[in-house]
Amino acid sequence: MLETRGLTAFYGDFQALYGIDALLAAGETVAIIGANGAGKSTFLKAIAGLLPSPPDAVRLDGVAIGGLAPAKVTRLGISLVPEGRKLFPSLTVEENLLIGTYGRAPGGHWNLARVYALFPVLAERRHAPSTALSGGQQQMAAIGRALMANPRILLCDEISLGLAPIVIRDIYNTVPAIKAEGASVLLVEQDIVQAMAVADRVYCFQEGRVSLAGRPSELTREQIHTAYFGT
């Protein structure tokens, strides 16, 4: 469904991605793992349109979408849950969720009631300023906000970052429900164990290149160690 071919990305003169070939099939969960600075977040940003890329480098159902403005990418059904949550501080929790409907495709499963059913704690805090939420609640709000656009593809950037293990477990427990409504998930995850547990396939990035790809069950610890750190 979503495919990148030779995707490159630059921050000014600095090249962060050196030709990434990757695939996300419909209904799949794919995890990107790798060390800090390997280009994982950059990869998601390039897909979301936050970084310029050649049109052919990103394809959705075979259509070239590389280099489209982020708002257009969202309207095509690709929603990014950005690293660090990035909730809007002057909006309440509910307003943050409602903002997610701007890029909404018509129809679709998700609405306020269903997001609240997925994350009941958000319903309790719906009128609170988003800045008053705990880290885990903020992460739930950020995921809910992305779901409000009814994405076909959900991009999650480091959703476990800085959270307690029990909260991480709660959040990852919602992934099956999200997938059940027809979204494929592409997630970037520092926590290898978590990534291996949730993903159908993983890509390991190293210095802007894919160093390893495969199904978690088929990869050995040694392979991952090498792909993660280099030798």
């Binding site: 979301a48 349109g49 936050l50 403005a69 982020p70 708002a71 969202t74 309207r75 929603s79 990014l80 950005p82 990035k86 809007f88 501080p89 002057s90 909006l91 307003e95 409602l98 903002i99 997610g100 701007y102 890029g103 909404r104 800045t131 906000r145 656009a149």
Partner: protein
């Protein structure tokens, strides 16, 4: 005693005019961090539009303003979409330079089209009507209408900001333009809408500017200064603060003028400086900046 009560009343109502000047500026700065140096000249431009509509169609000025508002909304939308959006970015200098240039273009364009003659939007009997309050006090109907319009404009803008879906997009874009785009919000369109709304408020400001006193193409920059002072006194990004800021300048000017007519303008500027020294972030700064 009556004299001072009268002074306070006049000052508060004059503040309504300054708040109207400032509301559009406050809105634009609040949403896109754009300092519009042409704001005063756009008010004068709008006054000429209202004047032309009034005289061409022989309409009542209020009706003429109602007709002018959509024209100026469209003008603002186009101005932002086609020109000012290109100047926004990390660097704060390009918008300053471009709006400064725009200020010169608008002034000279108006001079070319309407000459340097002083104009006025005639409001008939309304210009001199007043309401007696008893005890020798009276308020002019026109100043009262100005203040009422300012309060209504701020109420309407607050409703737009905090109760509508467009307002949510305004606030989200103001908070974090990059993440707003991830939500499917087209920033360029949101900014253009904001400028359109600002020009609608500018139309109201222009109506009262033109009915209360003479205007000519060169008076824009002085209105810009009052507007700036009102915005900064109130605290950047706070619309009610802007109303308070306008009223403080109006009060200071009225009190200054009461002591000595030469002090009127100076007193307004002094009040601004005093607030800047005591509360550099303004009286009602937004919690998040």
């Amino acid at each position: 005693m009556t004299v001072w009560l009268d002074t306070l009343l006049q000052g508060i109502m004059l503040g309504g005019l300054y708040a109207l000047f400032a509301a559009g500026l406050s809105l634009i700065f609040g949403i896109m961090r754009l300092v519009n140096l042409a704001h005063g000249d756009l008010i004068v431009l709008a006054a000429f539009v209202v004047l032309v509509v009034t005289s061409a169609l022989g309409l009542d000025p209020f009706l003429a303003a109602l007709l002018s508002a959509p024209i100026l909304f469209a003008f603002g939308y186009a101005l932002q979409y086609l020109l000012l959006n290109r100047t926004l970015g990390r660097d704060i200098l390009p918008p300053l330079l471009v709006t400064f240039g725009l200020s010169i273009i608008v002034q000279n364009g108006l001079l070319e089209a309407f000459s340097a003659d002083s104009r006025r939007i005639g409001a008939g009997a309304l210009e001199t009507q007043s309401l007696p309050l008893g005890g020798g006090l009276a308020v002019g109907v026109m100043p009262l209408l100005t203040l009422a319009s300012a309060v209504l404009a701020i109420l309407a803008l607050n409703f737009l900001f905090y109760r509508t879906s467009i307002g949510r997009a305004f606030r989200a874009t103001s908070d974090d333009p990059e993440t707003a785009q991830l939500m499917g919000i087209d920033n360029r369109r949101i900014f253009a809408l904001a400028m359109g709304v600002a020009m609608t408020v500018v139309t109201v400001a222009a109506l009262y500017l033109g009915m209360r006193a003479n205007f000519d193409p060169t008076i824009g920059p002085a209105r810009l200064i009052y507007a700036f002072e009102a915005v900064i006194i109130g605290g950047l990004g706070s619309l009610w603060g802007t109303l308070a800021g306008g009223i403080i300048i109006g009060l200071a000017q009225a009190i200054g003028a009461r002591i000595d007519p030469e002090w009127q303008i100076l007193a307004g500027h002094v009040a601004f400086l005093v607030v800047l020294v005591l509360k550099p972030r303004g009286l009602f700064p937004r919690a998040v900046d």
